[in-house]
């Protein structure tokens, strides 16, 4: 009994870990001129992690084999952790007292800044893993740049924390793409179908806009198009090993980074935000 009334140690551990980062000083965090763009870009990073983490968590209990069920949950947990870091910093930069939870649970779809790629439905394991691979290859390149070059110490710090996990995500996803691509006839066909389905959503990762340009000028973030070369190298190497064809570059679906989403995001948010919306102000 006494053991139970004592507040959960697991919860405390999670909280302590999140609070551990004593903020390093970073002049950009309070830079008023840069604020709108910086906030927006941090939401892009946070929302990618949030929405992909949400999608990945949908597999929990429904995976094709226990070992994979567990691995997918690990990936989702990592992404939720990244969300807390990016959106936490976004809230600080915004300076209106909103924390990561409020940003995740109380913005509507038009305020979300994630790539369209991450909000697409999971499909089969082929689509899920291919999406993860295509995203991870970009994510890894982006975080690597931030660690090496970002003039914002806070951004570099978050990137350095996240990259350890993302490196594993990329290795794991690459390995599975190769194995399934070069596996059975059916697994090959499903992986190729996943590539063809997702390819038009990859162009958005490399598309710059005015908001990004401001931050590129300040030396905080990479210009999106500069990540393409690394990404393409990773993808083409893996596809070759996986015996998968890289589609011709064609049309790109755009808009996620500016808040124009697919229909899917609205449903994700309806589910995710339900309790916060139905019982405003309650503490959970």
């Amino acid at each position: 009994m006494s053991a139970v009334v004592d507040l959960s140690s697991a919860e405390r551990e999670v909280r302590d870990k999140a609070a551990m980062a004593s903020p390093v000083s970073d002049r950009f965090v309070t830079d008023a001129a840069l604020k709108p763009a910086f906030f927006d870009w941090l939401c892009r990073m946070g929302d990618n992690a949030l929405v992909l983490g949400h999608r990945t968590s949908e597999w929990c209990g429904h995976g094709p084999v226990l070992e994979e069920d567990i691995a997918l949950a690990n990936t989702a947990l990592d992404l939720i952790g990244h969300t807390q870091l990016w959106l936490g910093l976004a809230g600080e930069v915004e300076g209106r007292g909103r924390d990561a939870d409020q940003l995740a649970y109380l913005r509507d779809a038009a305020q979300f800044r994630n790539l369209l790629l991450v909000e697409l439905p999971n499909g089969d394991m082929g689509v899920t893993l291919m999406r993860e691979f295509l995203f991870d290859a970009w994510h890894h390149a982006c975080l690597s740049w931030l660690i090496a070059h970002s003039q914002s110490p806070r951004v570099a710090e978050i990137a350095a924390k996240a990259i350890k996990e993302v490196t594993y995500h990329l290795e794991r996803a690459s390995d599975l793409v190769v194995r399934l691509g070069d596996g059975s006839g059916e697994s090959h066909a499903r992986m190729q179908a996943a590539v063809d389905l997702l390819w038009p959503y990859t162009g958005e990762m490399f598309k710059s806009d005015a908001i990004e340009a401001e931050l590129v000028k300040a030396g905080i973030v990479p210009a999106s198009e500069t990540l393409r070369e690394t990404w393409e190298r990773t993808v083409s190497e893996i596809f070759e090993e996986a015996t998968l064809d890289m589609p011709e570059d064609g049309y790109s679906h755009l808009g996620g980074k500016q808040g124009r989403h697919t229909e899917h995001l609205g449903f994700i948010l309806a589910e995710m935000q339900f309790l916060q919306r139905a019982y405003p102000g309650a503490s959970w």
């Binding site: 009994m1 139970v4 968590s57 939720i80 649970y105 599975l176 697994s187």
Partner: protein, 331 residues
């Protein structure tokens, strides 16, 4: 418990036992662990496969009622905690299947028996999770009831089962507490939250009591399982212990246990309480619980949809091994 209504063997008297059986029983009595491949009575092996298998099935079916709420968890932290907990259940299923496999049955065989309905899982997971407080009630009551059984099972006579239980108990120490922490938030929150908490308790109380299985007087063959130390306490002992520990926890939350007959009995130093409706229990076991169809359906779908994935990876492993062999042959 997670393993209810396990069909065991009739108890043999010492006169009926062979020399091997007597030696085996003496080892168990001395508290020695029985390890895979050592001699064991066929009934011991079969009962263990049924019990560990049912326990493993309960872990993976048990992912579903809570998994239900992962995408609706109200904060990022709650989402992470719940996901970690449900993931642990997958891990526990995995450990238990591994323990069962040391008895000469494969995991895929056990899963087939789950999918065909030949093997069962705990009745509790056929009840729906309807509001967020259910995440609290499941952790507090369902994991709480499970722990009652699992802690003593760490001492069970079969080595691999005992070791799996030790690992599970270590990892589960946070599950019940996180459930109670959710209950505290709800019970001490807004009036609507408190209402959800009470509603969750109302719906989960009797199903939680059913987890311990029918009363000892109706419980078949438990004497043999207890002699073999694959069952450590009787159903009624554990149920009584659970009620005794849970009632003050509910009082602390300011919630009412939905049983008018619940009263402290000074003489037995425990609570008197109403028996659950055992006809409901047997209906749920038979497949007529509110969620039987959905739960088993979800497991079968995951397995069937995943076949190409598992086969694709097997195909790659075979190709890769053949390539390696060809390189070695060429050298």
């Amino acid at each position: 418990m997670y393993a209810q209504l396990i069909k065991s063997e009739g108890m043999k008297s010492r006169e009926e036992m062979s020399q091997e059986e007597i030696a085996f029983q003496e080892r168990v009595d001395r508290g020695e662990k029985i390890e895979p491949k050592e001699w064991m009575p066929e009934g011991y092996r079969k009962t263990l496969i049924r019990q560990i298998g049912q326990h493993a099935h309960s872990e993976i079916v048990g992912q579903l009622p809570e998994g239900n709420w992962i995408t609706r968890a109200p904060t990022l932290e709650r989402k992470a905690i719940l996901l970690a907990k449900v993931q642990d259940e997958a891990g526990h299923g995995l450990y238990l299947y591994s323990a069962a496999e040391t008895l000469g049955v494969s995991r895929d065989e056990l899963l087939e028996k789950l999918h065909s309905g030949e093997m069962k899982y705990s009745s509790i997971f056929n009840y729906p999770t309807l509001n967020w407080a259910d995440m609290g009630a499941v952790g507090w009551l369902v994991d709480g009831a499970a722990i009652m059984n699992q802690v003593p099972l760490q001492r069970t006579s079969y080595g691999p089962y005992s070791r799996a239980m030790i690992r599970i108990c270590k990892e589960e120490s946070f599950h019940q507490r996180q459930g109670y922490a959710v209950m505290m938030k709800m019970a001490f929150g807004t009036p609507e939250q408190k209402e959800m908490a009470q509603d969750a308790l109302n719906r989960f109380w009797f199903p939680a009591l059913m987890m311990f299985g029918p009363s000892d007087k109706d419980s078949v063959h438990s004497a043999q399982s207890m002699a073999w130390k694959i069952k450590i306490n009787t159903n009624d002992e554990l149920r009584q212990k659970f009620v005794n520990e849970t009632v003050p926890q509910a009082e602390y939350l300011g919630l009412t246990i939905p049983d008018e007959n619940l009263v402290w009995n000074e003489e037995k130093q425990g609570y008197d309480f109403s028996e659950p409706d055992w006809s409901e229990f047997f209906e749920v076991i038979k497949g007529n619980g509110p969620c039987n169809r959905e739960r088993l359906g979800a497991r079968v779908k995951a397995w069937t949809d995943g076949a190409w994935f598992r086969d694709g990876l097997s195909a790659y492993a075979e190709k890769a091994a053949a390539r390696r062999a060809a390189i070695v042959a060429a050298e």
